[in-house]
Each structure stands twice: as C-alpha cells, then as structure tokens.
Amino acid sequence: MSDNERVLKFQVFRYNPQKKSDKPRMVTYEVTEAPGMTVFIALNEIREQQDPSLQFDFVCRAGICGSCAMVINGQPTLACRTLTSKYESGEIKLLPLPGFELIGDLSVNTGKFMRAMSERVESWIHDIHADQVDYNKLEERMDPDVADQIYELERCVECGCCVSACATKRMRPDFLSAVGFMRLARFALDPRDKRTDEEFYEIMGDDDGVFGCMTLLGCEDYCPKDLPHQTQIAYLRRKMVLVK
C-alpha cells in the first residue's frame, strides 16, 4: 500500500429512468484515494459526501454475492473487489452492466434475468423421489470427486459478467448465455438429477441455446470466479450433438 495520496477521477454513468425529465449522461467525481481503496469504498464516499442520489448495488462487498458487477474502464467485473490502485492513470470510468434492464445509474436488474434463467433451465434436481427422501436414514452416497466437480461448476455467483461480455447475446436477445450453460452443465453432471440428454436437448438444443454460441468466449475471459466456460460449452455441445 502506498502512502502517496492522489485524486482519482471517476466518470460515472448517470440516468434515472424513474425521473421523466432525466437524460443519460456521464458525471465526473473526484475522490482522494486511500490505501486499500476499492470501487465499493469510493462509490459510497461519493454517495455520502457528494451526490446522495447515486444508485449502485452492493451486498456482501467481499466478492461472494455477485451483486456489484459493472463495467470498469471497459471491462465487466465485480466492483467490490476492484482496488483503485490498479488504475495507474487514476481515471476510472463506470458504466452499468449491458444486457440487463437498467434500474438507475449503475444498478441493473440481474435478479429478474437470473430468476427467468433458472426457470428456463429448470435449475433444480429433477427426481420425483427428492421430496420423499427419508431424511432420518443415511444419505445417498456420492463419489467424493463427483461432489467436488459439481461444486466447481456451482461456484457461479450470477453476477452477469458473462452475459454482458457475450457477443452472441447482443445478436440474440433470448440467448441463454454462459450462466445458463454453466447451470445446465452442473445439473447434467449431478447423478441426483434424473434428466436425460433428450430432456436437456429440449432446453438448449437450438440457436438460442448451446448451438448459437459463436465461441468468442467473453464469458471465459471475464468470469470473476474463473469458471471453465469454454470447456463446459464444448462439453454440452458434444453431448447435444449426440442426441437422436
């Protein structure tokens, strides 16, 4: 951590769709950098001291919950764990995540998108016996490696970076996107989910699904959790090609 104070220049996208007269614009705020300062800390300081109307979303502020993805100097990422010291010029440009409904300023409605995604891929264990499980008895065994592999794919925090970094999504508004593929890959791997490949095909076997992906792999480049999007999309494609 350096003790040299510098003044950061934040250029922030401002637009409140709730205000009829409001127009999208960029506003510059100056903030004196503190050691260990993150975009989370800086934005809160701006709100508290300069402009109390500034909208943004943080929850855990520790890189765990996925609330705070935004475009920082052209790249989608989690704002809470982005240190301002990373930017040598001291100029930081913040835009809301594209591909989602704008709530206001830097706040977007990822929740609505993700719920719809979960409903579309039926993001739950499909097993008619799951609700009849006798929980007094020993649980069904699972290979320890399989459990670890499922967790590797379940680490997604639904932040939306992959969606905003996806060129296919720009062209196909209903494209399922990497977050949806990762979820499907997770359930396809899980022996507790009894869905067949044919059933998975019904969900993703078209151009809005896994066959629409142009393999530009912005998802792989920008996933804050370093999930293996490339491998999983390739895996799902192979699996789906073999159906029927």
Binding site: M1, N16, Q18, K19, G36, R47, E48, D51, P52, S53, L54, Q55, D57, F58, V59, C60, R61, A62, G63, I64, C65, G66, S67, R81, L83, I103, G104, T110, G111, R115, S118, E119, E122, S123, W124, I125, D127, A130, D131, V133, Y135, N136, K137, L138, E139, R141, M142, D143, P144, A147, D148, I150, Y151, E154, R155, V157, E158, D190, R192, D193
Partner: protein, 655 residues
C-alpha cells in the same frame, strides 16, 4: 391503496426465510417472500465454513450424536440459550442436511483411506473408514468436541442458498425483489402483514397476510467494522420493535469473530483454524496455548476474540496504520488444501490485501460478526406478545445461541428453524381466518406515507449518513468486545441524543422513487433504536456471559442473571423498556456449569445443585433408560410430528 393478500408473508429471502416459505407452500398456503435483493445474493451465501450436524461419518466425528452437539451448543451459549430449542435444533439438524443433500447441495464427502491433516500445528495422518466412503464429511470448528461441521469445499452457505432458492423457484414461490418492509400492520395484538416500499418506484403497498415471518438476518451494521453484508441493518428487528408490543430478546448479545482481515473487516472463515491454522503475535509467537491450553485456537469465538484483545493490550499486537492486529497463519496447510477448501479465503487475501496466504501471514483482528439477539419468539417461532408474527434465523431470538453462537451453528439454525417454524406458520395459517378492517390497513399506510412526505418536505435538518456513522462509531468504541459501566453509560446518553436528532432528518435528494438517501433516512432512526436496545441492555446486565464481557463485572452471575433480556419500545419514548424472562434451572437438561474454556468465574444459581441432584435421582431411578428416554425424562420437547424420527448413523444404526 394497493393491497396484496397472501396466507404466509415472509420478510427476507435468505436461507431461513426461503425455508419457511417452502414449508408453508408445501402445506398448501399461498406464500410470498419479500427481499431487498435477489434471494441468491442474501448474506447466507457468505457462510464459507459449514453447518453443524452430528452425522458422525468422518473418523474424527466418530461417536458423535445429538447429545454431544447439544452439550457443545449449551456450553457455547454460556448457559444463556433456551435448552428446549437447542434440543429441537440438534435433533433436527441431521435431517436438514440430508434433505438439502437430496435438494442438490454437493456436500464434501468422506474419502476412504489415509489423509494428511493439521492438528495442533502438527501434520497427522488420519484414516477414514471404508464403510463411510461417500457419506457427508465434516471439519473441525471452535467449541466442539467432534468434527461436526459439514461443508462444501469453501462454499457451504453459497451451495445451501442456491439449493434452497432453486427449490423455491421449482415450487413457484414468488420472491418480490427490491421491496422493503417499513412497518408491521397489527391490531389488538395480532399481526396482519406489512407496509412495504418498492425500492425502484417508491410505491407503498400493503401486504396483508395471516402469518408474517421476519427472517431479515442480523444487525451487524450497527457497528462500523463488521463482517456482515451492507444489508444486515436489523430493519426486520426494528419493525417488530416499533410495534411497541413484540419484544426483542438479548439484544446486547453480539458476537465478534476472531479473524476478519484488517482494515476492511471481511471474514476469513473459522475453517482456517478448524483446518489447523494458527494465531501468531508480533514476534511470530503462537500465544493461544498460553491462554487456552486445552482448546487453543479452537475455543469458542467469544473466548478467542477476548484472548486476542487481551494479548494486543499487552503490547503484543502488530502495529499498523489501522491500529494493532495479529496474524493468522495458514501456510502450514499447504497450497493444495488452501486452493480447494479455503479458496474463498485465498481470493479475499489476493483481492483485498494483495497477499498470497500460502506464502504470507494474514492480518486479522476480532470484528463484529453475529447477532445472537433478535425478535423474541417461543419455540414455535411465534412472538410471545404479537400473534401471527413469527421470526426465524439470525433475525430471531428463538434462542438456541444464548450469549454466544458456535461456528457452524448459524447456517444450521437458519435451515432447521426454517423447517420447524415453517410448520408452525402453516399450522397458524390453518387455524386462523384473516379478519382485518381496511381502516386498520389504511391507518398504517397513512402513517408510513406521512413519514416519507415529512422527510421529502423538510428543508433543513440532519444528514442520515452522518447520523449512521456517528452511531456506528459509538457502538464500536463503547459497546464492543470488552464493555464497562462508564463507557456504556456514555453510549446510552449519546445514542439517546442521536435518536432525537434522527427525528429531524432532511434530504438533499428529494424524490420519492428510487432514492438511496431516502432509504437511509428511513432506516437510520430504526437502527439507532436497535443500537439503544443493545447499549442499554449491555449497561444493565452487570455480569459477563458469553460474548457480553463486562470488565467491571467479570463473573458469570447465574444467581442474578440467568435470564433473558426483553426490550420493547413505547412510541415517542427515547429509551427502550427493559424487562427480564427467567431461565428455569429446574427444567434444564444440562444445569449450569463450566464451559471448559475461557475464564472459570461463576456465581452459582441456588437451584443448580438441586437440579444436578434431581437429575442424578432420575438417572438412578431409570437405570435401563437409553439416551432418548433419558432426554424425554429430563427435557421433553414438543416438535412437529415429521421431525420426531431418530437419526441413523454409520456403524450405529438409529441408536
């Protein structure tokens, strides 16, 4: 006036709230969940460590059962918990974890054969049994006799919350996101739902329900440095308090976690120490064995936090521009283990400290972490004073944690309480019609409308952000890990004056729709009231118990203080009304005793000896009784029928 009717209204979309919603939906009741944020972003996700359930599958958990989990929980609580509730909890926790396994949580599993672990700073090889292969594994946590904390690599809370929310989505349970409950609607001692503000449009709506459940988590953000999410502001507790009827319990019971990183206060999991990590001082010396020769780094959180603070007071802290801290050393665990089972910790160190914990020491110090206090409920989860109001999880003082919660018992509580309270919520929906006059709804709606209009019209006044910062500083400086009379008295006075100032908040951004300053202005007066309950309760409690440590009253005084603090708030008052609820020693399955860690300094309750000999008599009179019959004799509990079964364990069956 927009009015939405439902049977079961759940405020809060974390693990506890979702589980209550699932229970009431399963029983056929219309259910709506309100959440400030998308449910999967709730603070439950941040529980990295795991969930305690006495499955006893891993070798270091061998021989574990409900009784041992019960004893650990009661000791952890420093005998402040409700033992009926702790019993219900430990008996149900194995079921909860197995149900979640069926719903999709990829719990880490036992792998048969040898593996290397770190115990007490030494590398040791343990051998997992072949017959346990593939069952749910567990890790060590503070204050437990057995390795009992079930986990998913480094993301237990995340995987639990995802499985739970996915289940809710499968069942079609609506989660109304970005909605904030501002006040409870109640009449004649019965709760009928809440007045709710849409955080995007600013619209006020009435959600009218038979049963209302508060599951909004803790109130960690009353403190300036906390591990809690920014939404953990205790607003659910506050709206219960503002009814003037529903009491809050043990608000002064606030836990500090030993290892949050400096300066930002982000948590590194107890799993670091559970898996073998050590605490070191400025000289690189491992000091905990000097204070706690038996449990060392793995005494309960309240004890470790105090020992760390004591050690820093002796000048052994590492000085930094953010004040003194100590070191957490997980280097001895090795890269492979850290990158798999403590990856979240590694990421946090990399992103927020710029260090690699495989090679370097982590700067840590005790930081506000958990709220044992909350909406006081009966064992059914219902408020003892306001019918139809329920609470579950961290928001509640159901009271299985007393004055200190064990690591791994909080996510466990969220799910178990969700299951049990959810059944009672459904029972309530079945037994009660919804009779409410629209005049009552309008009355509460007008009240909230007026508060907002006043805020938007006031030209000059206090800045809500500033009031909040002042409150957080008072709490941190004067109502922290160690407490004393003079500081607490000052805190109570200062908070009282903040309370008065908070009646005169004015806004710079005066619009009624999406407006973060307005949100703050609505919340801050509520938070100050809660802070007053904490500080005043702490001042009046002239003893030390669990996380409540009075320097001027160092003994745990069972004689005078074996009781639960209840706080209510009369409208217009500037202090809470405090009363007490006695804990009945003669009904305790485990009478008060020594915890086996921390300072042993107890003023005994006159009934303790009587109860011990009474228990002895019962044991002698029933020589053939097994542990279940013995529990029935000593601590008969009422639990919903579906959770009454015995739990199976490997090599032991249902015994």
């Amino acid at each position: 006036m927009k009015v939405i009717y439902t049977d079961s209204l759940v405020i809060g979309g974390g693990l506890a709230g979702l589980r209550v919603a699932i229970a009431s939906m399963q029983r056929g009741y219309d259910t709506i969940v309100l959440s400030l944020i998308p449910a999967k972003r709730s603070h439950s996700a941040a529980a990295q460590g795991g969930m305690q359930a006495s499955l006893g599958a891993c070798i270091k958990g061998d021989g574990d059962d409900e009784d041992i989990h019960f004893a650990d929980t009661v000791k952890g609580s420093d005998w402040g918990c409700d033992q009926d509730v702790a019993r219900m909890f430990v008996n149900t926790s194995p079921k909860a974890i197995r149900q979640l396994a069926a719903w999709g949580v990829p719990w880490s599993r036992v792998r048969a054969g040898d593996r290397e672990v770190v115990i007490n700073g030494e590398k040791v090889t343990i051998t997992e049994k072949a017959e346990a292969h593939g069952l749910i594994s567990a890790r060590d946590f503070g204050g437990t006799k057995k390795w009992r904390t079930c986990f998913t690599s480094d993301g237990a809370g995340h995987t639990m919350l995802y499985a739970m929310d996915n289940k809710a989505i499968q069942m079609g349970i609506p989660v109304h996101e970005r909605k904030e409950a501002l006040a409870l609607i109640h009449d004649d001692g019965i709760c009928y739902g809440a007045i709710v503000r849409d955080l995007i449009t600013g619209e006020l709506m009435a959600y009218v329900a038979k049963a209302t459940t508060i599951a909004t988590g803790g109130y960690g953000r009353l403190y300036s440095v906390t591990t809690n999410a920014v939404i953990s502001e205790g607003i659910g507790n506050a709206i219960a308090l503002e009814t003037g009827i529903a009491p809050l319990g043990n608000m002064e019971a606030v836990q500090f976690h030993p290892t949050a990183i400096v300066p930002v206060g982000i948590l590194t999991t107890e799993g670091c120490r559970g898996d073998g990590g050590l605490l070191l001082d400025r000289d690189g010396y491992r000091f905990m064995p000097d204070y706690e020769p038996d449990k060392k780094e793995l005494a309960s959180r309240d004890v470790v936090s105090r020992r760390m603070t004591e050690h820093m007071r002796e000048g052994k802290g590492v000085p930094s521009r953010y004040g003194d801290h100590l070191w957490l050393d997980i280097r001895l665990l090795g890269r492979k283990h850290i990158e798999k089972n403590l990856r979240e910790v590694k990421e946090i160190c990399e992103y927020f400290l710029g260090i690699d914990p495989v090679e370097e020491l982590i700067p840590v110090r005790p930081t506000q972490h958990y709220s044992m206090g909350g909406v006081r409920t009966r064992a059914t989860g219902e408020s003892p004073a306001l019918k139809g109001l329920f609470s579950a999880g961290e928001a509640a003082c159901w009271d299985m944690h007393g004055f200190n919660r064990l690591g791994g018992n909080s996510v466990a509580e969220t799910v178990v309480a969700g299951m049990i309270v959810g059944e009672y919520v459904a029972d309530y929906c079945a037994a009660n019609p919804l009779n409410i006059s629209t005049t009552t709804i309008e009355h509460f709606m007008r009240q909230e409308e007026k508060k907002i209009t006043d805020l938007l019209l006031r030209n000059h006044g206090e800045n809500p952000f500033q009031l909040k910062a002042e409150m957080q500083k008072i709490m941190m400086d004067k109502v922290g890990i160690f407490r004393n009379g003079p500081d607490l008295e000052q805190a109570v006075e200062e908070l009282k004056s903040l309370n008065q100032r908070a009646r005169n908040i004015a806004l710079r951004n005066r619009i009624s729709s999406s407006n973060p300053e307005l949100v703050e202005a609505i919340r801050v007066p509520k938070m100050i009231k809660l802070a007053q309950c904490v500080a005043y309760g702490a001042l009046l409690r002239t003893e030390s118990r669990g996380a409540h440590a009075r320097e001027d009253y160092p003994e745990r005084n069972d004689k005078d203080w074996l009781k639960r603090t209840l706080a209510t708030w009369k409208e217009g008052s500037d202090l809470p009304d405090i009363s007490y609820e006695e804990l009945d020693v003669m009904k305790m399955e485990m009478p008060p005793g020594s915890r086996g860690y921390g300072v042993d300094n107890i003023v005994h309750h006159p009934d303790t000896k009587k109860r011990i000999s009474q228990i002895e008599t019962v044991r002698e009179a029933n020589p053939g009784a097994d542990r279940f019959e013995m529990q029935e004799l000593l601590n008969p509990i009422t639990i919903p029928e579906k959770f009454k079964g015995k739990n199976e364990r490997i090599g032991r069956g249902f015994k």
